[in-house]
Symmetry: C2
Subunit: 280 residues, 2 copies
DNA sequence: CGTAGCCTTGACCGCCCTCAAATTATGTGG
DNA sequence: CCACATAATTTGAGGGCGGTCAAGGCTACG
């Protein structure tokens, strides 16, 4: 196993740093907090939470979900590295949902006392942990709005924007893309649409030269336009937007699919042209 | 103005008592906390929150809502007496929504320090206040599920069940009904459907002899069946179910609309005309 | 008694679901 | 490296829930 300070497993540190600059002591405290035994889970496994522990996701993607009477799965929240699978605010025992992995994941099980102790020693960390919880609730509210007032294309765009920024916060993106080990079914169950329509919608995003999800890699051809389509304002995530350097790497022509302006959306007709360097 | 211990304004006390039995000192502390100047707002007014204060709803109904790009209002949460319009977890400034009144409301503006002090003196109250926040987040999650996996009839049933139980917690229900000063538009904006379809759905509930909303009064003809239709499990509200005595008063025949199993028959549904038996 | 807002009802239409089949990835053993 | 099996994605056709538009009825209130 790699060392505890390996970038692959410092997701929590990086998440803190997306909101404030950690002092050396603070960073050390967080790192030592996560220096606990880890376990690796395969995709599609379920994660049950022990009472006095906080399960921290270090790598991979997971989700909170419920299964409805009709047997359909609805994903309530995605969990990305640096997220806590369980916390006070979201006790699966009480709220009646489950936690499942969507890819291979690495998980650290922290004792809850460790978190309270670190909070007592470092008030700034305590406040930020609280902010994490607030952002979590705010994200649920945004999903509610997403379901309520956006159609399939806008919903999908919104979710991709959110995931890209959250992954960016923990340093898991390139300039205009990121690894996203999700099946179309996983997206469909979060956006509450059928897999068939999910496929059609991703196809449309691709043809509009906005985004492309292929082979578990998400490419955002035009992030600004995607945000416009989605009506995405990242305020609710509680972070400064795109804190990490995003060099403007223009999308090379060969990687672009053939242009196609499906006339259905006059809103998008002009913006995507050129694929020129988009400053981030 | 009535005295501070008047039942009309002891909503917060009653809400605490739906979760635990208050000692005399605790009850006194809560009552003195809410013994502050109040203001009465007309329906349709907006409520802006001052930074270091907690606005407590004492009577009437309010909501949190946003306005989408298309100008449509979406209600994110209903606020019933005993609810805090603003708290740490839901700072409108950050989250970008507004608070509006749906009926005439009475509001008390508590200093935030008062809440923290009372929490320090009475750990049980502090824990319960925390539980309120958790229940709030859980309710948002339930609304997400409501939108995602239920059709119009089920969604509406679910919302009516929730509102009835929450109002019951603060002693604002009769045996099988409660005052509910909501327009159909207000329900439609929460359930994300058009006012036209809201009308049709309420009509269907009425014909199915499940529930009847008329003249700002909600009658539940068959609460158990309504819960079944909605797939409603009140666990997420974090309360013991129906703590207050609910004497089984059978609905008298004249108040029932003509029976109709499904919407198959466009039978004239004027049967509820005599608003006679309004049990209070 | 008249006006304005709210509710109801009907007609038509579009987004998205379901079913079904073809096509393409992914993984496994030879 | 190829053949095969399985899963995932794509594409088409048809239908239903619920949206929009429009008109009429009911309530409330001055």
């Amino acid at each position: 196993m790699v060392s505890d300070s390996h970038p692959l497993f410092s997701a929590l540190c990086r998440r803190f740093e997306s909101r404030l600059a950690l002092s050396q002591q603070e960073a050390h405290a967080v790192r030592s907090l996560t220096a606990v035994p880890r376990r690796l889970l395969p995709p599609g496994s379920s994660l049950d939470v022990e009472p006095r522990r906080c399960e921290l996701l270090l790598s991979g993607l997971a989700c909170r979900y419920t299964t409805s009477r009709s047997g359909r799965r609805q994903i309530i929240a995605y969990l990305v590295p640096g997220d806590f699978c369980s916390s006070d605010i979201c006790d699966p025992k009480v709220l009646g949902y489950q936690i499942g992995t969507l890819s291979a994941v690495m998980i650290a099980s922290l004792p809850r006392e460790g978190l309270t102790q670190i909070g007592a020693r470092f008030p700034r960390l305590s406040a930020t942990l609280q902010d994490f919880t607030v952002a979590e609730a705010a994200t649920t509210t945004q999903w509610l709005l997403n379901l309520g007032q956006r159609d399939a294309l806008e919903r999908t765009s919104h979710l991709l924007c959110e995931l890209f920024i959250r992954l960016n916060c923990v340093g898991l993106t390139s300039a205009n893309g990121c690894e996203l080990p999700l099946k179309q079914t996983d997206l469909a169950d979060a956006l509450v649409m059928s897999p068939v329509h999910m496929s059609r919608t991703l196809m449309k995003l691709r043809r509009l030269r906005l985004a492309h999800l292929l082979h578990k890699w998400l490419t955002l051809y035009d992030f600004e336009e995607l945000k416009t389509v989605a009506g995405f304002t990242p305020t609710y995530l509680g972070i400064r937007e795109l804190p990490r350097a995003m060099p403007a790497i223009p999308v090379s022509a060969p990687t672009l699919p053939p242009r196609e302006d499906t006339g259905a959306r006059p809103l998008l007709a002009s913006g995507a042209g050129g694929g020129s360097g988009r400053p981030c």
